[in-house]
Amino acid sequence: MSDQSNAKSPPKRSFLQSLEIDLRLLGMIGAFLAVCLVFNLLTDGRFLTPRNIFNLSIQTVSVAIMATGMVFVIVTRHIDLSVGALLATCTAVMGMMQTSWLPNILGLELGHPLIPWITIIAGLLIGALIGAAQGWLIGYHGIPAFIVTLGGLLIWRNVGWHLTDGATIGPLDKTFILFGGINGTLGATWSWIVGIAAAAISLFFIWSGRKTKIQHGFPVKPMWAEFTVMALITGAILGFVATLNAYTVPTRVIARNPALFSCESAEGCVAAYGIPYSVLVLIAVAIVMTVIALRTRLGRYIFATGGNPDAAELSGINTRFLTVKIFAMVGVLCALAGIIASARLGYHTNDIGTLDELRVIAAAVIGGTALSGGVGTIYGAIIGALIMQSLQSGMAMVGVDAPYQNIVVGAVLVLAVWIDIQYRKRLGGKS
């Protein structure tokens, strides 16, 4: 059991290697920044304004949340074509729940403070239930995920239609729509507090991670590299907060209700939107899903099953139940995305989430999730969703006609996967 390659002295480490930043992450961020800069040039600086960055982030949330779940599905060599339709059924249930069922059947009057929370819990449960049922058909009965979720696409889209008779349901509850984006934000002060806390927590984790490594006698990166990474992360978090805080509430909005922004009158009142709640939800989802992927047995089993289903089973992993769990998770995320999507519109509409399944799959795949299974990251899927959304809204701002927009998005999808395959070939099978 010899190993020639280790006989050589360790090669000199380049700047990037010392930082130990994933090259693929770097590539994706680079691609995202390139897209932003090009559109910024084409729109004479209108693309990278605080206002547009704010809009971009709230437009991305719904697809990005579902894409994090799609990563697990694709990693285990399945696919879920039903996410958009599932989202629609969930928002239909939640729409009916808050505007009709709870007031008319349970007798809670409209605007009752319990309505939004009961609605949200019901929505998440419905999502989990439908997802688990699809996972059960796939895991325990061996029906290919493609077929089950293709059926699901037709079924759930139209169950939603049936529940609402195809009507637009609204207006939605006042608390509920806070999750939509611009209607619910932290404001400047709290945004700074959250941003600084987030930066502090990240620094703490980097530091304690380094200490654990030293304890076990593993190599650590040089001090300067550690500090560079810390500075980059702190800069990114605080920069994002500063940008969102730079988007101030228009005077005409303040004029409607100055007290909301703690001002006597609209005149001379400056208020910033800050971080939208929906973005906080996405960040929370991203953290939870990343922890699941990297730090739990569940995540380990998901990736092991994707890498070699037989080996996973021989290791005593219950791969059937695992499939149920994964699809149930996606169901919950669809419901969560549905809360945000319908709250952003203020209504449940019959066509909500149409074609989202393709956007979600594309986001996961652009983010480096391999359809052959075993490989994928949560952050990649979120950046993938950001790239898709930037392309789409950027082209809309430039005034590209709708058909050309879709042509470009389609081409980018194929190109991204091609680049990823080339990258992996170069690294010789490494993921």
Partner: protein
């Protein structure tokens, strides 16, 4: 004679109409190496997969240390301290050595999260014993050589204090030097009192490593003999003709 570690009694399994294992009885004692020989498709791997929980037998019984055992899944088998090194190695190629070694039995922190640092340092320790040249702990096992992959699979079987070890073609992918290391390891484990089922095609190797050889053909057990009682030719004729010259004499 002491209670056998493993006793498989009248075990059968069929796939479709094919009786892959047909009424086979075999036993294994502590500190003993039993070799299973036979042509491809003779039923060796299938027999062993019933013991390791990968297949469920149609009929028959398995007794472990004098108690009747129910093995319906790989997890059950592991609970009886049975460890298997599969011919395919059964490694998740996209994960690193430590994740593979502990797959299904991850070490966790008090909060229930997987403890990668501790698993990595445990992996370093056992690898230092099994394969001192093994350094690629961070790489997915797809980036490893055949021998290195094999040593990960062996480490996984040895680490968890197995009493019964099943090795399906453990040396098929290995070079001369590595094969010698595996032979040495088998001797060492035997001294520690493990019972080992060994599957191989190499009759000469089996004569050296095993205490007993059992020959299978077309799903049936032709015979099981102590190596000192038979010649290589006897075994070959059992494999090819499906007759036990000892029994005939």
């Amino acid at each position: 004679m002491s209670t056998p570690l493993v006793e498989m009694k009248n075990v059968s399994i069929a796939f479709g109409g094919v009786r892959a294992v047909d009424n086979v009885s075999i036993d294994l004692h502590a500190g003993e190496v039993v070799g299973l020989l036979g042509h491809n498709g003779a039923g060796k791997s299938t027999l062993i997969k019933m013991l390791s929980g990968a297949y469920k037998m149609d009929s028959g019984e398995i007794w472990i240390e004098g108690n009747k055992a129910t093995i319906n899944s790989p997890r059950d088998s592991r609970d009886y301290n049975i460890e298997t090194i599969y011919q395919t190695l059964a490694l998740a190629d996209n994960l690193d050595a430590a994740s593979n070694l502990f797959l299904g039995r991850e070490l966790t922190t008090p909060f229930g999260f997987v403890d990668d640092s501790r698993m990595e340092s445990e992996t370093r320790k056992i690898m230092a014993r099994l394969n001192p040249n093994f350094k690629k702990l961070k790489e997915p096992v797809s980036a490893l050589s055949g021998g290195q992959r094999q040593s990960v699979a062996i480490a996984r079987a040895v680490y968890f204090n197995a009493k019964i070890l099943i090795m399906d073609e453990p040396t098929a992918a290995l070079g001369v030097h590595e094969t010698a290391m595996v032979a040495e390891l088998i001797g060492e484990l035997k001294k520690q009192g493990l019972g080992i089922f060994l599957i191989s095609h190499d009759t000469r190797e089996m004569m050296e490593l095993c205490d007993r050889v059992a020959v299978m053909k077309n799903g049936q057990l032709i015979g099981s003999e102590r190596v000192e009682d038979v010649t290589e030719d006897d075994i070959l004729s059992m494999i090819i003709l499906g007759k036990n010259p000892k029994a005939a004499a």
